[in-house]
């Protein structure tokens, strides 16, 4: 639910942005016209200069924030940014660390891993290894943005432009967020989840709940629907359907695992599918929730909660470059417009630009500070580049982007923001010019060869290859292993078989064994993990055996299910 804004991979500390001393207002800027003028236009009129200029200085007040926000909103509206209403909340550094620990969620269920994240954040922050985020913004309606009280006024303005208008419009416009997240109901759902988990802890014990949540967290990345669209539900509906669903689900499960002999002539064995599931299932948590034989209703609901939260974060993991690039592009454009209108001072702009450039640093691959491609830098450069292609295209741009070269930049940018994710955005819009600017090249590391080789560089023959590879680098399917449920042994030992579809001979990391163990806890029976090689061979990887006595049964519904099984 949050786009977590760690400004800059190297974490420029907030202090870094405070080098510029504030300057009294109305000193250095050219005067500007009174009355409603189009943003961006400049016309001298000495009489109204002082009243147009927003108060300067580095101290912020609530009144000042409101005034800056009004100005920024005016310019954002002028550029046609469509946003949810904003809710700006000022918090302390400690509260910011709290928010970090829970992925920025304002409410969340209790789990030790969040405590661990808090302690780790606190440690690095106190040692000065990392500056805190200047802001966190939550994809909700109204859109909640946190500002830190330590920031100076120029920083607050930067953050408002970045989060409240940049990210906010992205949340509202991008197709992935529109499809997968419900900004209206997410806070309600989290409140429901928190209560439900607390209730379960009271009734069944913290340990039991923790065991289920641990297992679910391990599978969270494989607990999302990639293609099927979820339904809308409000809190009230959610609660009303809870009871009904519990009863219904349990009945389904019991039915699936029925072992009572059938009366002759009632149904033939052929009516049941020989293999289950009929098709491989990629959403492991969904599969567990619907089909695990031994889970109690409350455990199923916990699985569901983790799954839904994972689903909520799913778009954010796929739109990092775009989201950050978009927000950075707009804070830059909006504040630059404010400056051009003569509403902010040179000192203000210098401070903004200092931290802006800090965030956009992209160290080379051989630098000590290199930590991957900076999504802020790449995204910002791409949106700027699209604008350039629209406004002043070169021959190269006309050849590569015939459809957008020379078009209206605002419309093109809007189209790009709405209809792409990182993967497709890069495949569609990365221009040769940017590839040259970033001096991108690709490195092929094949463990079958003795050396690594350079696959392509930023030259005529390499542009397409580099662009394709960079795009693939941002595809979730490339970053995470493709693991699916292929079969359940219905007639025999009820074991569940997972299959990893291998690509490029890349194996699973060894910790997959722990994850399989977690899954076996949920499933209640043996879980096998196998790899399907590129040539179709099946290689067993790991098997977690579940003996009957290891099963920990909770809840009476399960015992009745067991009775049906005739253990």
């Amino acid at each position: 639910m949050s786009a977590e804004e760690r400004h800059g991979p190297a974490g420029p500390s907030p202090e870094a942005a405070r080098v510029v001393e504030p300057e009294p207002p109305g000193v250095a800027l050219p005067p500007t016209p009174p009355g409603p003028a189009a943003p961006g236009s400049r016309a001298p009129d000495a009489g109204h200069r002082a009243e147009r200029m927003l108060p300067g200085g580095s101290e912020w007040t609530f009144d000042l924030i409101a005034r800056y926000d009004r100005e920024i909103a005016r310019i954002a509206a002028h550029y046609g940014l469509d946003t949810y209403p904003n809710q700006i909340e000022v918090i302390t550094a400690e509260q910011m660390m709290d928010a970090y620990a829970s992925h920025g969620m304002p409410v969340g269920y209790t789990h030790w891993s969040y405590g661990k994240h808090y302690l780790a954040t606190e440690q690095t922050y106190k040692r000065g290894q990392m500056g805190l985020a200047y802001e966190i913004v939550i994809n909700s309606n109204p859109c909640i943005a946190y500002l830190m009280e330590e920031n100076t006024m120029p920083m607050q303005a930067l953050v408002i432009a970045h989060a409240c208008y940049g990210h906010n419009s992205f949340f509202k416009g991008n197709y992935l967020f529109r499809t997968w997240t419900h900004a209206d109901s997410i806070i309600d759902y989290l409140v429901f989840a928190k209560r439900f988990v607390a209730e379960c802890e009271q009734r069944y014990g913290e340990l039991e709940v923790e065991r289920v949540l641990d297992a679910c967290h391990a599978l969270a990345n494989h607990g999302v629907d990639r293609y099927k669209r979820p339904n809308k539900r409000s809190l009230a509906q959610e609660q009303a359907r809870l009871k009904e669903r519990e009863a219904y689900l349990q009945q389904q499960v019991n039915d699936l695992w029925r072992t009572l002999p059938r009366r002759p002539g009632e149904e033939t064995e052929e009516a049941r599918p020989r293999t289950f599931p009929a098709e491989p299932q990629e959403n492991l948590l969904y599969f567990v929730e619907k089909h695990a034989p031994l889970l109690a209703p409350w455990q199923r609901e916990l699985v569901r909660i983790v799954r839904k939260v994972a689903q909520y974060f799913y778009p954010q993991r796929q739109t990092q470059v775009m989201n950050e690039g978009w927000a950075t592009f707009w804070h830059y454009t909006i504040l630059q417009t404010l400056y051009d209108e003569g509403r902010v001072s040179d000192a203000f702009m210098l401070e903004v630009l200092t931290s802006h450039t800090n965030v956009l640093t992209q160290p080379g691959f051989d630098s000590q500070r290199y930590g991957g491609i900076n999504p802020y830098a790449l995204g910002f450069a791409m949106f700027r580049d699209i604008r350039r292609i629209c406004e002043t295209p070169t021959d190269e741009d006309r050849a590569w982007f015939p459809d957008i070269a020379g078009s209206d930049w605002r419309r093109t940018l809007d189209f790009a923001m709405r209809n792409f994710k990182d993967e497709s955005f890069i495949a569609q819009f990365l221009s040769p010019r940017l590839i040259r600017e970033f001096r991108l090249f690709c490195l092929v590391d094949d463990d079958a060869e003795t050396t690594r080789r350079i696959g392509a560089i930023h030259d005529e023959s390499g542009y397409r290859r580099v662009r394709e590879l960079l795009s693939r680098q941002y595809a979730l399917g490339e970053r995470e292993p493709d693991i699916q449920v292929v079969s359940v042994d219905l007639e025999g030992d009820r074991s569940l078989t997972l299959r990893h579809f291998r690509r490029d001979r890349r194996p699973l990391a060894p910790e997959c064994e722990t994850v399989v163990k977690h899954l076996a806890q949920l499933w209640g029976f043996t879980v096998k993990l196998e790899t399907q090689a590129e040539d179709g061979r099946i290689i067993p990887v790991h098997e977690c055996r579940m003996e009957p006595r290891q099963r920990r049964v909770a809840g009476s519904a399960v015992t009745s299910a067991l009775r049906g099984v005739g253990r």
């Binding site: 209790t110 030790w112 405590g115 808090y118 967290h217 990345n221 290199y370 690594r452």
Partner: protein, 440 residues
């Protein structure tokens, strides 16, 4: 329009519950880490929170991910001299800076997880296996309170501390001072009016009530002007505010520390060969606990470390815990040195003396009577409390018997035999109980 909300006053530490879960889950590791930290710290430093480090491998959150191997293709920025088809050797062991940075996608490189524990959390883990009663725990963990005492008045404070009498006094003084010039003028005007009235009274009977031109006589005009001036002055005086912000006075309360006193704590330990690391650890816990106790009751505490084998020496803390000698043991040498140090450096009218002695009980048979004499004649009359622990000894040793004998009729001698950490506290129990009675 955006809503702007100030949330700074909202709950801090919203994830405190999550942290508790974390500490609970990794209790064993944290306890071990705290024990390790205690072993490294100086006795006087135990009473603080601090960083503890636990192995990161235990607290991973696993997920399915891709491991090293196979064909990896990465796009990197900042090419300088490569062209397509170049071959690069693989870096060996990751170091050496051979020109290619590792992509930062595998962040699990740290093998230790370090985090900060607050003072309370730290002490809780420290106390845990020492089997301290809750009352004692809270007594030790609490930060010494100061008493608030009246200390005059100040010009800012909370409304509940407003001193009304003082405030009104200030107000009155200010009103008098501010109105003084007007009152002086008023006085003059009053006199002028009176004079004018007298003048008018003297002239009116002969003058016609109204002049021919219909205007009042000049004389009345002057009186009217004076009356108007008088009204103006009265209004001016009335405008002096009855009470103003800088009249406000608040009761000032200054924190007063408890009566300042100082104590010296002698740590006496046998460092002969038979004291191994485990015994030293137990001894250290014993010393720490006594020190914690003393910090609760004394403003300033000095620690003197006396180690001994056949001869005794005053050493620093490091030399005390981390040196090893061999040879025989003469406990009397340490007692003698202690008594001598007290005589020379710590006059009894200024210092409270506590002695904690730890030993494995080994002593030369012929030395024991001398110890008994030193204890009873030299030390016990001078010290507040003398506690002796015999660590990890299978059966009471010769020294124990001597001390046991000295115990009769003496209130400030405590003896204990320690096998595990939980045995440490009972030795000091009486000390704690006595102080509680005194405090009550």
């Amino acid at each position: 329009m955006s809503d702007i909300i100030d949330r700074r006053g909202n709950g801090r530490r919203k994830s405190a519950g999550n942290q508790q879960r974390f500490l609970k889950r990794y209790k064993a590791q944290v306890r071990e880490a705290v024990a390790r930290a205690v072993a490294q710290r100086k006795i006087a430093d135990t009473d603080r929170g601090g960083n503890v480090t636990i192995p990161a491998r235990d607290l991973g959150e696993p997920s399915f991910s891709l491991g090293p191997g196979g064909v990896r293709t990465r796009v990197l920025p900042g090419n300088k001299e490569f062209v397509t088809g170049d071959k690069l050797p693989r870096p060996q062991g990751g170091g050496g800076g051979s020109g290619s940075g590792k992509a930062g996608d595998s962040g699990e490189s740290e093998d230790a997880f370090t985090f900060a524990l607050s003072r309370e959390e730290f002490l809780e883990f420290f106390f845990e296996d020492m089997a301290l009663p809750d009352l004692v725990k809270t007594q030790l963990a609490q930060i010494p309170q100061v008493k608030l005492r009246r200390g005059g008045y100040r010009s800012d404070g909370t409304p509940s501390n407003l001193s009304i009498v003082r405030t009104m006094r200030e107000s009155l003084a200010r009103r008098i001072a501010l109105a003084a010039p007007y009152r002086a003028q008023l006085h003059e005007v009053d006199e002028a009016i009176a004079a004018e009235r007298r003048k008018l009274a003297a002239t009116t009977p002969v003058a016609p009530p109204v002049a021919e031109d219909g205007s009042p006589p000049t004389d009345t005009r002057r009186l009217d002007a004076l009356l108007a001036e008088r009204d103006r002055l009265l209004a001016r005086i009335a405008r002096v505010p009855f009470i103003d912000e800088f009249d406000l006075r608040y009761n000032n309360r200054v924190p007063q520390p408890r009566p300042i006193s100082q104590a010296v704590m002698f740590c006496v330990m046998d460092v002969s060969g038979s004291m191994d690391e485990n015994r030293k650890d137990l001894a250290k816990r014993f010393f720490i606990l006594l020190h914690l106790f003393l910090t609760r009751h004394y403003e300033r505490i000095e620690i003197v470390f006396v180690r001994h084998h056949t001869t005794a020496a005053v050493v620093d803390e490091d030399g005390f815990f981390h040196s090893r000698e061999s040879g025989g043991t003469l406990v009397s040498s340490a007692l003698e040195l202690t008594a001598q140090t007290i005589r020379e450096r710590f006059p009894l009218d200024q210092w409270n003396v506590y002695v904690a002695q730890a030993s494995d009980g080994d002593n030369w048979e012929s030395d024991c009577p001398k110890c008994h004499r030193l204890l009873v004649e030299e030390l016990l009359p001078r010290v507040q409390y003398f506690c002796y622990v015999e660590i990890d000894a299978a059966q009471p040793q010769s020294l124990w018997e001597q001390y046991e004998a000295a115990r009769a009729g003496v209130r400030n001698l405590a003896l204990g035999r320690i096998m595990t950490r939980a045995d440490v506290y009972p030795v000091l129990r009486e000390l704690f109980a006595r102080k509680q009675r005194l405090a009550a």
